[in-house]
Amino acid sequence: MSVPSLDEISKVLAKMIADKMEIDVNTITAESNLTELGLDSLDTFDLIFNAEDHFKIKVPNDQVQIETLQDVTALVHKLIVAQSS
């Protein structure tokens, strides 16, 4: 499987956040802080859960410390690379 770019991953995740929180996807940037977007810890778990489904990855429990969209994007990218090799 080809590894999606950081930008592609970021767009998918931004759309997931926008759908969940009912906010305009254009207001979300890579630097957006998830808490400031309205996500609490459970919402973040839910986002990771959906990302796991979408990208067919498994996020280990010790790697869910994330603050920004950029953090999630990087984590997902790293896991796709690791799990596709």
Binding site: D19, K20, M21
Partner: protein
């Protein structure tokens, strides 16, 4: 804490409802007195796989009342419980400020709890072969999820408890909440319950008990026939009803409109069999409510019966009423509104309390519809097929009994403003 030696009067000042015969009090009142049935063919993808294809569904779209973020974290039971709580608080005209929050709590009843969430999890695991479940599975599925969501909505600090006694759950919740206020532990309570069990698995489980009504061949909406000789069983329903209970002092101090007083509450247990009701258990429940209200039996003018439409319940309840009320049983009226709205299980007692309050204030008794064939063993006045006007209603009662044995009876008194 306030003095416990003095017993406070407890009044109902607000009600919210989502039911198979209407959402909101005006719609419910209109349909209940007109004898409209909310029972029909179940609108569900799996209906062809059911032996019993009828149910009493409520029309409730969570997207019309909550943000997607809010409702996607709540089971349908919690959505119904939260929405009807908000409606009840609005109806009561109650402002929940920081002074009230520690003096206000929630007692909630549900029988099967979060059926949709639990079943969705099992389908995902066992049918779809998923290796994991959604992060909210526990929080949506736990039986106290609805009560928790309601407490969070208003940031309430008073007692928050969930009662699960099958079909009497919400009647128990209301009665126990009234006691909290009576004894001074709280000033205001949100009490009632919700049930949303019309899932494939839950209906299949009920089918296996052979207690569900056969579909009426001519008209599915006439399938529930309490106290009629041709009754064949109960019809599962979904919905919710929540009530604002307050001490009389608290209600009058803020100038609230009082809808009724909870004059008595009794609970007793059938100890004979897990499903078969007993005359003694039901009579003990009714007597306990009369004793609590310090009323003679002949004070009661109307009983909203448990009246499920099963052969056994309706005879047993009739005999229990006769045992407690003696000759007066033939002078009071009894009706089963389940003939219209089906059996809301954990929410049944709360919905029927709301209907009974509406009856009290309208001086009108809702009918038992589909009562076409008199049963010699059920020989009371069941308000057959047509509502009855009864001027000067003062004391009325609502009964709830349950699989597992827990009975609850509430006596409501008209409060003239």
């Amino acid at each position: 804490m306030r003095s416990m030696s003095q017993r406070h009067r407890v009044v109902i000042t607000g009600m919210g409802v989502v039911s198979p015969i209407g959402n909101g009090l005006p719609a419910l009142s209109e349909q209940a007195f007109r004898g409209v049935s909310g029972i029909k063919r179940l609108d569900a993808s799996f209906v062809d796989q059911l032996d019993c294809k009828i149910a009493a569904q409520s029309q409730f779209d969570p997207a019309q009342h909550f943000t997607k973020h809010a409702y996607s974290m709540l089971d349908r039971t919690s959505q119904l419980g939260l929405h009807t709580s908000i409606e009840a608080v609005k109806n009561a005209g109650l402002t929940i400020n920081d002074t009230l929050k520690p003096r206000m709590g929630i007692y909630f009843g549900t029988g099967m709890g979060s059926s949709h969430s639990i079943e969705e999890g099992y389908v995902r695991l066992y049918k779809d072969g998923a290796s994991r479940l959604k992060p909210f599975t526990v929080l949506m599925g736990m039986n106290n999820a609805a009560a928790s969501a309601i407490a969070l909505e208003y940031k309430l600090i008073g007692p928050n408890q969930t009662f699960s006694t099958a079909c009497s759950s919400s009647a128990v919740a209301i009665g126990e909440a009234a006691r909290l206020i009576q004894h001074g532990y709280t000033d205001v309570m949100l009490a009632g319950g919700a049930e949303a069990l019309l899932t494939f698995g839950t209906i299949k489980a009920w089918e296996a008990l052979r207690t569900l009504a056969d579909e009426d061949i001519e008209n599915a909406s006439r399938s529930c026939k309490p106290f009629s000789a041709d009754r064949t069983g109960l019809v599962l329903g979904e919905g919710a009803a929540m009530l604002v209970l307050e001490s009389y002092e608290h209600a009058t101090a803020r100038g609230a409109t009082i809808l009724a007083e909870i004059a008595g509450y009794g609970s007793a247990n059938d100890s004979g069999h897990i499903t078969q009701p007993s005359v003694n258990g039901q009579a003990a429940t009714i007597q306990a409510a009369l004793t609590d209200a310090n009323l003679p039996p002949n004070a009661i003018q109307y009983i909203n019966a448990h009246g499920t439409g099963t052969q056994l319940n309706d005879i047993t309840e009739t005999n229990a009423i006769k045992k407690v009320f003696g000759d007066h049983a033939y002078h009071l009226s009894v009706s089963s509104t389940k003939s219209m709205h089906g059996h809301l299980m954990g929410a049944a007692g709360a919905l029927e309390t709301v209907i009974t309050v509406l009856a009290l204030n309208a001086n009108t008794l809702p009918p038992t519809i589909n009562l076409k064939q008199p049963d010699a063993a059920c020989d009371l006045d069941y308000v057959p097929n047509k509502a009855k006007v009864l001027p000067k209603l003062e004391y009325v009662m609502t009964n709830s009994f349950a699989f597992g044995g827990t009975g609850a009876a509430l006596i409501l008194k008209k409060v003239n403003s």
